[in-house]
């Protein structure tokens, strides 16, 4: 047993630059995989966030908007009761013209569009939370054109753009991860073949002296697994750095702030990291095993 570990680490050391290159490639591949997973996670989060926020907005017409601070007028109360009775709807909330203006000021604080909007141009709104956010269009159809209603907007469609952006990011990282994984696989497989090749005389002699196949080959397998594990750890480290120095800045930058929720460190360490470790170890082992079976005859 001691022999086996000694040989494995001798193998890694003997060819240090190769081992480093192999580890880096594996790490980048796993890192990209992790980035893809984070993107998926963020998409889920964003969907959660927006689905709880997303509502169908029933904007009321000018007279009602101007006169009704608490939805006590018969028109507004009627609409609200009807909405609340609808089985598609899980909740209804009234936002008066003044409340709407406050929210508007909050969201667009410091931006020039603020100067263009006055309270009078904003309608009062009934914000309808859907039991099933996907069926907002039914509410839109039902309430459009009803007395006291200015228009009905399903917010879902506007969020779709954001999702398609995040989807693109996810696809790009996964695509790169796959190509890079191919390189990592080839590298691991290759390093093993090379280890075996450079040591073929040695291993051949060992076999002639009576060593078993297992005895001579396990060191190569260990080399592969160690690579996979170290790669996963480095990938996680890289993602942590990437999160701190790139993602956090990007998502708190004003262009994307408040549209995409920040990526939490716990997502990274509790969800992505374990996946990377397992994937790294399993793939390295399988690659190593397959390589030894297929290519290493001695």
């Amino acid at each position: 047993m001691l022999f086996v570990w000694r040989e494995a680490f001798a193998g890694l050391r003997r060819n240090l630059t190769m081992s480093i290159a192999m580890v880096i490639t594996t790490a980048i591949s796993l890192g990209l995989l992790g980035a893809g997973l984070l993107a998926v996670r963020t998409i889920d989060r964003t969907e959660d966030l927006y689905y709880s926020l997303i509502a169908v907005q029933v904007a009321l017409d000018e007279p009602t908007s101007a006169a009704d601070p608490d939805c006590s007028s018969p028109v507004c109360a009627g609409l609200r009761d009807e909405l609340e009775a609808n089985p598609l709807v899980s909740g209804v909330e009234y936002e008066s013209r003044d409340a709407a203006f406050e929210r508007f000021q909050r969201i667009y604080a410091g931006q020039s569009i603020l100067q263009l909007v006055r309270p009078q141009s904003l309608p009062a709104t009934l914000r309808v939370t859907m039991a099933d956010p996907l069926r907002g269009t039914e509410i839109v159809e039902q309430f459009t054109g009803r007395p006291g209603v200015r228009n009905v907007v399903d917010q879902r469609s506007t969020v779709q753009d954001l999702f398609s952006f995040l989807g693109s990011v996810r696809n790009a990282t996964f695509g790169l991860a796959v190509v890079q994984a191919l390189a990592a696989l080839l590298l691991i497989s290759n390093t093993i073949q090379l280890s075996a090749f450079t040591r073929r005389t040695e291993v051949g002699i060992m076999r002639l002296v009576g060593a078993t196949r297992w005895y001579t080959q396990v060191p190569f397998l260990i080399e592969a697994v160690v690579t996979g594990l170290v790669g996963a750890v480095l990938a996680t480290g890289g993602l942590v750095l990437g999160k701190i120095f790139f993602l956090d800045r990007l998502l708190s930058g004003r262009l994307l702030a408040n549209t995409i929720p920040p990526v939490g460190m716990s997502d990274l360490l509790l969800y992505v990291a374990p996946v990377l470790v397992v994937v790294g170890a399993v793939i390295a082992t399988l690659t190593g095993y397959a390589t030894l079976r297929l290519y290493v005859r001695t």
């Binding site: 040695e202 002699i205 076999r207 002296v209 009576g210 078993t212 196949r213």
Partner: protein, 229 residues
């Protein structure tokens, strides 16, 4: 101990068989010289005994193993009971002299402390006690050959195969090696030795098996090298 039954071996890239219908039997404890001109098939015969290659026809028996038909995973056990000295030494290049000899013991799972006592003894026997920590590349040809012999003998094999073990040695050292092989043989180990050394064969007067172009040409129980030259 060793039995070849009508063994024929043809290498794929070769037209002429390297061994052609050879039948020989060697009893336990015998000492056999395998002679014949260059290319007559001596090394090939030894390779078949060690399962480095398999015969195209016929059976090769070593102890109770049908060597040619042995499952690959059984081969290590066979080899662990045999000792081999190769024509080109085949020492492990990254291990010292002592480690090379120790390796044959590690492979059969001998405990550390046994290895630590047995290896120096054997190195002493082949007159290499002072060179235990040399790397193979730092040895002269004859020294390397003696390391190979030490490794082949250290685990007390049933059979010891030696392919021209004195090829690179001066007459004196050769005599030393032959004394060593005789001693090993007296402990009950069957020895098969391929050689070109007329003097050794003539002086030892042991069984001589001669090959010629892959065919068995002679099998004398107390033979000499021959009449040529």
């Amino acid at each position: 101990m060793i039995r070849l039954e009508n063994v024929t071996k043809v290498y794929p890239t070769s037209t002429r068989p390297a061994l052609d219908d050879v039948s020989v039997e060697v009893e336990r404890g015998e000492f056999v010289f395998l002679i014949g001109p260059s290319g007559s098939g001596k090394s090939t015969l030894l390779r078949l005994l060690l399962r480095e290659d398999v015969p195209n026809e016929g059976n090769v028996w070593v102890a109770n193993w049908n060597v040619g038909r042995l499952a690959s995973r059984r081969v290590p056990r066979l080899r662990q009971r045999m000792g081999v000295v190769f024509q080109d030494f085949r020492l492990l290049p990254n291990k010292t002299v002592a480690e090379n000899v120790a390796f044959a013991l590690e492979v059969i799972g001998k405990p550390r402390h046994t290895i630590r006592t047995v290896v120096p003894e054997v190195l002493d026997l082949v007159n290499l006690a002072g060179k235990a920590d040399r790397m193979p590349s730092e040895l002269s040809g004859g020294e390397a050959q003696r390391v190979a012999i030490a490794r082949a003998f250290v685990n007390r094999p049933l059979v010891l195969l030696a392919d021209e073990p004195t090829g690179n040695l001066d007459p004196e050292t050769s005599t030393g090696i032959m004394t060593l092989l005789e001693r090993i043989n007296r402990t009950g180990t069957t020895v098969v030795m391929a050689t070109h050394d007329r003097q050794i064969v003539d002086s030892m007067r042991r069984r001589v098996v001669e090959l010629s172009s892959g065919k068995l040409a002679r099998d004398d129980s107390r033979g000499v090298y021959g009449t040529g030259r």
